[in-house]
């Protein structure tokens, strides 16, 4: 023990000092730092690696304060909560409560610790309102519910401390927006309360620091405490002896090497990026599982009880390996994990670091992780990610402004709590970091939306949900409004999900529920199609209400290849890393031979994508003509770009047929010779890629884009325009989907500037269409297009070309599809039919 540690230890009061000493522990510097900040009345962000005693650090001030509270029987304790702990995961809240009860019991502290989640029985929830515990551990949704009631002042009025766990995971989302608004209200009810944010390392801690204190226009920030970093991780890339595939995401070529890694370690976590990949890897591992290791599967679509069983088995150390998706990126600590394997591309350095941290929660020993690239581009990406992790470089955060649909939900909730004055609520809302720059007009539009829908045509005054009283304050029009609000609270709008039920033979009932799939996945299947789910190849039979009936299939390969659930795009930061590596052959030394050869041949045959330029290749192949561009902006941005470029090519009568996109490149194919068109001056690539495509072309596409309708539906549900579905209560989810599409069409035609459409467009900018990234790229490459006309396909183009036929084809208007169905089948339909000439 160093002198400093002993010096600090003196600061720890009894009985804490004895309790630490009794375990042979010394309090860590950051734990004491938090105690000190608490005594100064400061809010603080603690950045610490996993295993650093982060949670205990967050609670230490609370425990000390409560221990020092006078213990006299007759002195009444304050009636409200003392400390509020908020976590993104229900399971984490429960786990932390358990970990907190132990020291509290061992030190005989007179503290009541309780959790409150969706699973808490109604009777206990009611009692908690009447007689709150000292410490309440809960989730953002529960906070919203508690704040939307008249007893919120009683509950939160005495609050001293707020602990926000995994703040980095919450902040950059609509869930975070809702929480930030809740915090603004809590701070209004308990101005003295201090906030502690707990976070993993982030690129920009200042945003999170602003979260912790009320914003008054000066960028106010909480203090920052950074814990000493743990040992640097041991990170390597699997240099497979086998041929590295050109495309695909299964990493089949490395399977036996992955299995050897599992065999050599106690417990291995295998992370993949999509549920489909998880399913495939799990299946392949069991094929070669000669030693019969207990290997389990965990992803967000599996039945909750099955997921809990896997987590429990993991906690008891009964599993050798778990194949999982981002479903296990966060969560409770499992001491036994000694290796993390990331199969496929890491996609972002922050996510990778988070995953690596799931191995070995002892701070002084390095976490061990192996990256397994599934194709050649992923080799580059893994290499770039390794360099980023070694340098401790995080992905930059996407700047976020608070969503208007979330604000609409919050404002309605505040009306449910009691009458409010618009001016005061506006000021309160702006004290939340994501809404600190909220224009008054947006706030007023949201308020008008909550009242009567906020339409320019003021037709619904008499149906208002909230009304102004004589004194100008707003209140709910009737009690049903509060009921509706409570049923709709939260920002997690699941895609319409269908249960997958395994039935035998011709049965339509009974059987086991395997999990859930997104409706749109099933939408394209016909009875008899096979797909992989829950570790098996299943045959789709029928849909009965909200259930997909399936039977086990004997097929060796599934017919429907891709189930994309949970795919995320390449981060901007990592993309820049890959581009930089490509542009600089001196750095290719560290790459496997096959990959280096691939790049060498590309350099000879075509060109290498520059660091800032956009490489565009055009070439003929198999009677078609191709245009391949390499923006490296992630598949979402590429898909949007593909949509817009094909529209433009169509207009220029260059007859595109379709496009495919991956994270690195975009390939458009068609019947016109694009090299020739460029040479003859009929096609100007600078004009084709001009950023003005984000104007009218984008608007025209958005009008019919299914993505936009899906985005609008989410906003409409979150804002409370339409009701969320509930098991047993909801009429028919398909009707809901249908009607939001109709609502979108009507609203877009008649009031394109409505606040909900603005909210949907804002989502599209960062969400499914990644417009912000696309527009950034188009600005960057202006005047920097590097075009090469080739006589055949280039080595770099092969991976994206291989996606053709494997991925869904975009770019075709719905009507073109109908015309095709009509043309091809009209003859058949007419056969033996003379009714129609």
């Amino acid at each position: 023990m160093t002198v400093l540690d002993r010096q600090s230890a003196i600061d720890l009061p009894e009985p804490f000092r004895s309790w630490f000493a009794g375990r042979g522990w010394a309090p860590r510097a950051h734990q004491l730092a938090l105690l000190e900040r608490a005594r100064l009345g400061r809010s603080v962000l603690l950045i610490a690696p996993t295993g650093a005693g982060k949670t205990l650090a967050g609670f230490l001030p609370t425990l000390v304060e409560l221990a020092e509270r006078p213990r006299k029987r007759n002195s009444p304790r304050p009636p409200g909560l003392h400390t509020l702990y908020i976590s993104p995961l229900k399971a984490l809240a429960v786990d932390v409560a358990r970990n907190l009860e132990r020291p509290a019991a061992e030190m005989e502290l007179p503290i009541r610790i309780e959790t409150r989640t969706g699973d808490t029985p109604a009777s206990r929830r009611q009692r908690q309102r009447r007689d709150p515990p000292d410490i309440l551990l809960t989730t953002p949704e529960q906070i919203a519910l508690l704040l939307a009631s008249a007893d919120a002042p009683h509950l939160f009025g005495d609050l001293k401390r707020i602990v926000l766990d995994e703040l980095h995971a919450l902040a950059n989302s609509k869930r975070g927006d809702l929480l930030s608004l809740g915090l603004a209200r809590i701070r209004a009810l308990a101005p003295e309360a201090q906030t502690v944010g707990l976070s993993a390392t982030v690129a920009d801690p200042d945003t999170l620091r602003r979260w912790l204190v009320p914003q008054r226009g000066e960028g106010e920030m909480g203090d920052l405490v950074i814990a000493e970093a743990g040992a640097a991780p041991e990170l390597s890339m699997l240099d497979s002896a086998a041929h590295v595939p050109w495309a695909g995401h299964t990493a089949r070529h490395s399977l036996s090497e992955i299995y050897a890694l599992i065999a050599a370690n106690t417990t291995t976590l295998l992370f993949v990026n999509t549920r489909m990949q998880a399913e495939l890897l799990f299946q392949e591992l069991w094929h070669i599982n000669e030693l019969n290791f207990p290997i389990a599967l965990h992803h967000g679509s599996l039945d909750v009880s099955q997921r809990r069983r896997v987590e429990a088995a993991m906690g008891e150390g009964r599993l050798k390996a778990v194949v999982c998706t981002s479903s296990l990126d966060l969560g409770i600590d499992w001491g036994a994990v000694d290796l993390v394997v990331n199969v496929g591309a890491p996609k972002g350095s922050s996510r990778l670091m988070q995953r690596i941290g799931r191995a070995n929660h002892r701070l002084d020993e390095p976490s061990r992780a192996v990256l397994v690239p599934a194709n050649r581009f992923e080799v580059l990406e893994c290499r770039a990610a390794m360099e980023a992790v070694r340098a401790g470089a995080q992905d930059g955060a996407v700047e976020r402004t608070g969503a208007l649909d979330v604000l609409a939900q919050h404002v309605l909730g505040m009306a449910c709590a009691g009458p409010f004055a618009a001016d005061a609520l506006y000021e309160e809302v702006r004290s939340a970091e994501p809404y600190s720059a909220l224009p008054r007009k947006d706030f007023d539009d949201v308020l008008a939306f909550d009242a009567t829908g906020g339409y320019a045509l003021r037709a619904y005054e008499r149906f208002a949900r909230i009304r102004q009283m004589k004194d100008g304050r707003w209140r709910v029009a009737n009690p049903t409004v509060a009921q509706q609000y409570r049923l709709n609270v939260g920002t997690i709008v699941e895609a319409t999900m269908l249960k997958v039920r395994l039935v035998g033979g011709k049965a339509r009932y009974g059987g086991r529920v395997l999990g859930e799939v997104e409706e749109y996945f099933v939408e394209t299947m016909s009875p008899g199609d096979t797909f992989v789910f829950a570790g098996e190849i299943l045959e789709y039979r029928a849909i009965v209400e909200d259930t997909v009936l399936v039977v086990r299939s004997h097929a060796k390969e599934p017919k429907v290849p891709s189930y994309e659930g949970g795919k995320f795009p390449l981060s901007t930061f990592l993309a820049a890393g890959v581009r930089a590596m490509l542009a600089d052959p001196s750095r290719w030394k560290s790459l496997p031979n096959q990959v280096r050869d691939w790049l060498e041949i590309q350099r000879r045959r075509s060109r290498l994508p520059g660091r800032e330029d956009l490489l565009v290749e055009t070439f003929p192949r198999g009677g078609r003509h191709y245009l391949v561009a390499y923006p490296f902006e992630g598949r979402l941005a590429h898909q949007t770009l593909g949509m817009l470029l094909t529209r433009r090519l169509e207009r220029a009568r260059l007859r595109p047929l379709g496009f495919v996109a991956n994270d690195y490149a975009l390939a458009i194919y068609g019947v016109s010779d694009l090299s020739l068109a460029v040479r003859q001056g009929r096609l100007d690539l600078g004009e084709l890629f001009d950023a003005d495509m984000l104007g009218d072309d984008l608007e025209a596409w958005l009008a019919e884009a299914a993505l936009m309708k899906r985005t609008f539906r989410q906003c409409a549900i979150i804002a409370g325009l339409i009701e969320r579905r509930f098991p047993g209560k909801e009429k028919n989810s398909r009707q809901v989907t249908m009607s939001t599409d109709l609502v979108y069409d009507v609203l877009r035609a008649h009031e394109p500037d409505h606040v909900l459409l603005r909210a949907a467009r804002q989502d599209a900018a960062t969400g499914l269409m990644d417009l912000r990234r696309l527009s950034g790229m188009l600005m960057r490459i202006r005047e920097r297009i590097d075009h090469v006309a080739l006589d055949r396909v280039s080595p770099l183009a092969v991976p994206v070309m291989l996606e053709i036929g494997r991925e869904m084809v975009g770019g075709e208007a719905a009507d073109a599809l109908l015309a095709e169905a009509e043309d091809e089948l009209v003859e058949e339909a007419m056969r033996g039919d003379d009714r129609v000439q």
């Binding site: 009567t452 829908g453 339409y455 045509l457 037709a459 619904y460 149906f463 949900r465 049903t480 409004v481 509706q484 269908l498 409706e519 099933v522 939408e523 394209t524 016909s526 849909i543 325009l721 339409i722 009701e723 398909r734 009707q735 249908m738 009607s739 109709l742 609502v743 069409d745 009507v746 609203l747 035609a749 008649h750 009031e751 409505h754 869904m808 084809v809 075709e812 719905a814 009507d815 599809l817 109908l818 015309a819 095709e820 169905a821 009509e822 089948l825 009209v826 058949e828 339909a829 009714r835 129609v836 000439q837």
Partner: protein, 247 residues
């Protein structure tokens, strides 16, 4: 063809303006009819425009229950009707029931919508067939209110009869058809017909849809039916076995 400013009601129908192509032409029990991609049906011999299931004021009906849908559905629906009336210059307009979403919907029609209805009725016969949502005459609509209409060998009613019926045109079921091609799915409102009877698509902007493969619909037809899907500029004729069930 020169167009006069305000429709000369007894002019020849403006067939040149028909962009629906050959797919828009069908025969029902020997009678020639034109399918309009806006969702209506024109009967040239009678100069009759037929539409179904307008569900006017469905938006405000929801608003009364706390769901403030955009209040533009009635005018969006009527706009389609006005467009078609300009295109075909019908002598008679027939709406096959469920013109209004509920019994009080007529009172909620706004001034713009009332003006549109009045403009439509000018110089024409307006016939409102009774539907389950609007069984009684609605004063705000004007025109005549009938339980059904049998004319020129065809029967126009709200709900299709239980048995196959030659020459029946009905609404009520809101048919839609889904086509799945190469991993993409397109779901559109449609006309459904087996040549003997015809079920019209709903015109209402907020009217939902029932898949033509649903038993309630497919059971109506004696012969294989075909769906005429509403596209942007024309209708698309799709054989029944090509239509996919929902999901």
């Amino acid at each position: 063809m020169a167009m006069t400013e305000c429709s000369e009601v007894y002019d020849e129908p403006d067939l040149q303006a028909d962009t629906s192509g050959p797919a828009g032409l069908i025969a029902l029990a020997g009678t020639e009819l034109r399918l309009d991609p806006a969702g209506g049906l024109f009967w040239p011999a009678e100069r009759m425009l037929i539409v179904a299931d307008l569900h006017l004021e469905k938006g405000s009906s929801f608003a009364a229950r706390g769901i403030a849908l955009p209040p533009y559905d009635s005018r969006a629906t009527l706009m389609l009707l006005v467009e078609m009336a300009a295109r075909w210059r019908p002598r008679i307009v027939v709406s096959l029931g469920d013109t209004l979403h509920d019994r009080r919907a007529g009172t909620r029609l706004g001034p713009v919508e009332r003006e549109m209805l009045a403009g439509l009725a000018r110089g024409r016969e307006m016939v409102w067939i009774a539907g389950n949502h609007d069984p009684d005459a609605v004063p705000e609509l004007g025109g005549v209110h009938l339980p059904q209409l049998a004319v020129g060998g065809l029967t126009l009613r709200h709900e299709p009869g239980a048995r196959p019926a030659a020459g029946e045109i009905a609404g009520h079921l809101h048919p839609v058809a889904r086509v799945v091609r190469r991993g993409r799915s397109v779901r559109r409102r449609c006309f459904a017909t087996d040549g003997a009877r015809l079920v019209m698509p709903a015109l209402g902007a907020y009217a939902g849809g029932l898949n033509v493969r649903d038993r309630a619909l497919a059971g109506l037809f004696a012969a294989p039916f075909e769906a005429h899907l509403i596209g942007g500029a024309r209708t698309y004729r799709i054989a029944d076995h090509v239509c996919a069930p929902d999901r």
